[in-house]
Structure formats: structure tokens, C-alpha cells
Symmetry: C2
């Protein structure tokens, strides 16, 4: 049964990269000197060090670790991808003729464009009817595998907010960045009494990163349930928050 | 050897309570109808359901679970506490004659006040010389046990930013709140190329909450280390962020 999944590396304070580069388009060496890079390299280090990630990118070396197994199973589970337009724009040139996806990718964009066929099984289809339609097309292309939200953060939030996401895996890097682009929080369209509930499905405690996979239950009302404690003793003071 | 520790329940998007109540002082029933309560109850539910937490508060019932064991060991490890002024103000009345701490508490405040002796081993000492001095006094009072930062979030950030914290345990509730008061991020005084590094020391995967204990390594420069990958292939596009 096809699930819609997403996974992302984040710092312990919830950032997936440094603060947005406001200087406009930069080439890779400009990007490397910008504000996004230091945080980005820190939170993704566990993956860049993993053999399975390096193999997909055509790099030698890397560690054969539990982290590498997680990268491997993540790639293996995806039968198709949905991707944000900004991520595609940043990746089109560096990915080259043989991108690491090896599966159909559906790019959510406002600009119509012909399908782009690449080597190794990757194709890019440009979808102008929004994230929901992109997920629908990816689902049809995924066979019995999963549809993976490739990124970036904005598309992930849209898919989550629209109730389309079945599984979210966070790779929590043990670092506080203090500032940057946040994956979660505002942008989910939640009212004051609403939450999105999840259930931890798997926790992998690697030395340099904690992988937590959640099943997304969905939107629900937050309740003022004091669990039978007497009203005047329950509050921030009582639990030490 | 005495450590300075802190622990806090947070949502998966990093909030420890709902948005701040801007209506000014509220009694408990006013607070219950305010914006903080729904998120607060959700992220602390695991503790309120735990037998060890309920015993400390004088409530019957609760579950004898791994969560309860964690509450128990958390209370047992603390030989003294440091606490923010706002948390003390909110707690003074509801805690009553026998507060749950059963140890000396050092309250960081600008208002001098006599030591307040309570039953069961709790005392409140008011420290006007800042968080560092409060930690020093608590250290002297803790014997061979730990100094625990009782809260709130602001004091925790100050202690962390000052490099005084040795251990941070987060209880991550599997819920997205979308908005509220964030524990971590801004307020740590980190520059664009700085991070605070931690090492995961223990992960406990309970059904309704994930407990991650970190040892705080301290402030360090973030490095632009591409781990030997060729420069033009490494970036947000390559790792799918």
C-alpha cells in the first residue's frame, strides 16, 4: 500500500539549514559563502558521511553504518517523488545527467515545462495544479512503493497541512543553531486549539543523530484534560515548565 | 560530581506551551481558558499520566510506566533547583505548604525577599545576582546530587547560553502545535557560524513520548566541511533539503 512519506535532517532547535540567503541567485561557491551553508552542512553531516548517500551521488568512501542503512532504505522505499520548485531549480544543474533519485519526480511549479528525462530512471514532470495533484500523479507512478516528498521545507509543510502525509521521519542532529530556516511550526495552518497528532513508529539511536519515524494520525482538537488532577494544582508551575 | 541539568517537555515543533497569555495576571481558571493551556496540557500529558508525577503532586492514580520511572529518577537526581521568577510567581500559591521539590530552590529575581521555608524539604531562596550566582548557590546546596533547572524556558536558555548546562533532556511529545512558546532557537546568543554541540546520551522510546538526554559539549564553530565530496555536487539540492 503506497504511503506518502517525508524525511528531513534538522537541528535540535528545528532548523534544516541556516538563515535564507537574501542575496538572490548564487552559484554553488557563492552559496557556500552564504548564511545557509554552515547550518546546512552541520545538520546533514550524518548523511554525507554515510556510504549509501555517497554512492547515490557518485562519491567514494563513507561509513557503512546504521545511518547508511537508513539512507539506503529511504531511497529503496521511494517509487516516485514530489519536489518543490525552488529545490528543483537549485538541483537541476548540479544533479547533471544522472540524478540520485532513479525514479519519476513530480515538481510543483507555476511554470509549465516539458517532461525532462534523465539517465538512471529519473524523470522530472512539471505539475502546475498544486501539491495535491503532484501527489496524485506520483502515487500513480510509484507502483507498490511509496511517494516521497523530496523537499524542500515549504512543500513538506504544504503536504502535511493538506493532510496528505502518512509518515514523517526526522533525523535530529545534536546541535543548536539558534537561527535558520525552520521545518515545522507556523505554516501548518493550525488554529489555537488544533494540533497534528503523530505516533512514534521507530526510533533509531545512532551516535551522531537520532532518527525518529512518525506515523501521522492527523489534525485533532487539543483538549483541556487535567487527567483528574484537581484544577487548582495543575498548570505550568506544577509540572515545572 | 554535581551536574547542572534541565529537562523539558516539548512538542515535535519545539513548543513547551501555547502562545503567551497577554491578558496579564490570570488566576488558574482564567489561565485554563487562555491560549497557553491547550498546548501545555498536550505536551505534558505523558508526565501528568505518570504515577511518580502524581504522587509528588499529591494526586492518586497514574500509570506505573517507563515514563513514571523517568519522572522518579529526575526528581531523585536533583539535590537543588534553580528557577525563574515568573515560574515561582505562578507556583507560589498552588504549590501550597508542601511543594513537590523537596529540596532547596534558588529563584532568580530582581526583588530581594527573605528565604521561604516550606514543608517536606523545600525552601525558596531569592537570588538577585543573576543565574550564574543562583547556580553557584544551588551547587553548594546540592551535595553530591545534581542542580536542576526547574524552568521556565527563559531561564533554561540563559543557563544554556552562559555555558552552565551539562545535561539537557527533552521529552518530545508527538504532536505539532504550529504556534506557542519555543524552548530553543533565538535567545541562545549564537552567531551565524556558531552552534552549541551536544551528544545524545540516552534515548528512551516510550509509546507516547520520546525521551532524549543530551550531554552538552558546548559552543563551537560550524565548519564548511563537505567531507571530500566535490564542491559542485554538495548543497541543498543534493541531499534533498
Amino acid at each position: 500500500m503506497t504511503k506518502v512519506t517525508a524525511q528531513m535532517s534538522v537541528s535540535l532547535d528545528g532548523f534544516y539549514t541556516g538563515p535564507r540567503d537574501t542575496r538572490g541567485n548564487q552559484d554553488m561557491s557563492g552559496w557556500m559563502r552564504g548564511p545557509e551553508a554552515p547550518g546546512f552542512f552541520r545538520v546533514t553531516r550524518w548523511a554525507v558521511d554515510a556510504m549509501a548517500w555517497r554512492e547515490r551521488q557518485g562519491f567514494a568512501g563513507g561509513e557503512q553504518s546504521v545511518d547508511s542503512q537508513i539512507v539506503e532504505e529511504t531511497f529503496a522505499a521511494a517509487g516516485a517523488y514530489v519536489m518543490g520548485r525552488r529545490m528543483f531549480d537549485a538541483g537541476e544543474v548540479p544533479w547533471g545527467e544522472e540524478p540520485p533519485f532513479r525514479a519519476p519526480v513530480f515538481v510543483v511549479t507555476h511554470r509549465p515545462r516539458e517532461v525532462l528525462e534523465r539517465q538512471g530512471g529519473t524523470s522530472f514532470t512539471f505539475v502546475t495544479e498544486g501539491p495535491e495533484r503532484a501527489v496524485e500523479l506520483a502515487r500513480a507512478a510509484a507502483g507498490d512503493k511509496d511517494v516521497a516528498v523530496a523537499g524542500g521545507g515549504e512543500l513538506l509543510r504544504q503536504v502535511l497541512a493538506a493532510g496528505l502525509l502518512d509518515q514523517l521521519e526526522l533525523h535530529i542532529a545534536p546541535v543548536l543553531l539558534g537561527d535558520g530556516q525552520r521545518l515545522l511550526g507556523p505554516g501548518l495552518g493550525l488554529g489555537a486549539d488544533d494540533g497534528i497528532e503523530l505516533v512514534p513508529a521507530r526510533v533509531v539511536d545512532a551516535p551522531g543523530v537520532t532518527h525518529i519515524r512518525y506515523t501521522v494520525t492527523g489534525r485533532s482538537k487539543l483538549v483541556l484534560d487535567d487527567r483528574g488532577a484537581s484544577g487548582d494544582l495543575v498548570g505550568p508551575a506544577a509540572t515545572g515548565q
